[in-house]
């Protein structure tokens, strides 16, 4: 399962008003570490589909949302609950490390 892309138009519905915990992966095509971490997030998403939604936002296409969430380094992975950011992880990490960072939201 590949993470769904969200846009300016769908962000409120998919992220802010989502009942579930949502991780938004802020990424861009020209960012090597973003491309490296993307398949790992896909794995985490499919292994934890009942607990967390994982979506991706292309900062090149939607700079206003990137600015709103003060993104200055990517990949930036922000966990949202009830519309609020509850956790931020910066930078590509191996799966074990990422799962450890997100443990509270995958349990």
């Amino acid at each position: 399962m590949s993470a769904r892309a969200v846009t300016d138009a769908t962000f409120d519905q998919e992220v802010i008003n989502n009942e579930k915990t949502v991780l938004v992966d802020f990424w861009a095509e020209w960012c090597g570490p973003c491309r490296a971490v993307s398949p790992i997030l896909d794995q985490i998403a499919s292994e934890n589909a009942d607990k967390i939604d994982i979506v991706k936002l292309n900062v090149d296409d939607f700079p206003a949302l990137a600015a709103k969430y003060q993104i200055t380094s990517i990949p930036a992975m922000k966990v949202f609950q009830k519309g609020e950011v509850v956790k931020t992880v910066i930078g590509a990490k191996p799966k074990v490390a990422l799962v450890a960072d997100l443990a509270a939201y995958l349990a």
Binding site: A28, W30, C31, G32, P33, C34, A36, V37, I40, V59, D60, A66, Q70, I71, T72, S73, I74, A76, T88, I90, G91, A92, K93, P94, K95, V96
Partner: protein
């Protein structure tokens, strides 16, 4: 069991793989899960790799090296080594997935990791204006004033690249001369958006929610000043990545893995090292590639010297165990 496992996927690792594969050693190369391709993956134009007169993008060069290694039978695994057992004739490599692989020889080519400034606010403001990857993060500093810290080639490359986005780039350097190559220096000096701040050590990064400036100390007069910037890119060098082996292999005073003379032989029989992890001085893609060649040839020579029954066991290339 295998004949050889190569750890690392930069120019040293892939060049070692090309040689080992062409020697029919069927190498397994552990590429890492998120840093496959190594440091060149985060660079843009590579202009000093021979054979590419027009220059080549770092990621493209690495893709070509991998293609060449795979063409001769290298098997690439995208995982991270979590544990290494290097003593004795059989070496054991454990991966993040829990898989364990065995080999008679190991080439260690894990390169180096970005050095941090070691300032208390660096971690707190990381992702809030402090960055180590200009190609990833330059985009977020459009029309901003930012600083690059460092005086080497990577600092010059980052500063020059960042002028595509930023309105002003300060290069903050501890000395009054640069370590960078002449061509990179001249390019930076000629860039109207770049201004050099000489003889200045960074003693603090300021900002409540995001970076708003640097505290600098003049290395000659000792005077402290503030430099208002919206972002800071750290390019002060790299440290050899030896954490997996520092208890098992001898290191040099510089922290690189010690090798015998001009060879790649480490303090452990059957373990060879190549690239930035053994090189405190040159650290170029070409020197790393050459070093990978040396390691593959040394390993090939070592394997040829082993008794036939050991080598017969190493014909098997399947996984040894899966623990989870």
């Amino acid at each position: 069991m295998r004949q050889i496992i190569i750890i690392g996927s930069g120019p040293a690792g892939f060049t070692a793989a090309i040689y080992a594969a062409r020697a029919n050693l069927k190498p397994l190369l552990i590429a890492s899960s998120v840093e496959a391709g190594g440091e060149l993956m985060n660079t843009t134009e590579v202009e000093n790799f021979p054979g590419f007169p027009e220059g080549i993008q770092g990621p493209e060069l690495m893709a070509k090296m991998q293609e060449q290694a795979e063409r001769f039978g290298t098997e690439v695994v995208y995982d991270d080594v979590t544990e290494l057992e290097l003593t004795g004739p059989t070496k054991t490599v454990t991966l993040g997935s829990g898989e364990t692989h065995e080999a008679l020889a190991v080439i260690f080519a894990t390169g180096s990791a970005y050095r941090k400034l070691g300032l208390p606010d660096e971690e707190r403001l990381s992702g809030r204006g402090v960055s180590w990857c200009a190609t990833c993060d330059g985009f977020f500093f459009k029309e901003k004033t930012i600083a690059v810290i460092g005086g080497g080639d990577s600092a010059m490359e980052e500063a020059t690249f960042l002028t595509r986005f930023a309105s002003k780039v300060y290069v903050v350097h501890r000395k009054d001369t640069l370590r960078a190559s002449k061509i990179m220096q001249e390019r930076a000096f000629a860039n109207p958006k770049i201004e050099f701040v000489w003889n200045s050590a960074v003693v603090g990064i300021t900002g409540a929610e995001a970076v708003d400036g640097l505290r600098l100390r003049n290395t000659v007069s000792g005077e402290e000043t503030s430099l208002p910037v919206g972002g800071v890119f750290v390019a002060i060098g790299n440290d050899p990545r030896t954490h997996l082996v520092h208890a098992q292999l001898d290191l040099t005073p510089e922290g690189t893995i010690a090798v015998a003379g001009r060879s790649s032989k480490t303090s452990q029989t059957g373990v060879f090292a190549a690239g930035d992890v053994i090189d405190p001085t040159y650290r170029q893609a070409v020197t790393a590639a050459a070093s990978g060649t040396v390691a593959a040839l040394d390993a090939e020579h070592y394997l040829a010297s082993l008794p036939a029954d050991l080598l017969a066991d190493a014909g098997e290339t399947e996984l040894v165990t899966v623990t989870n």
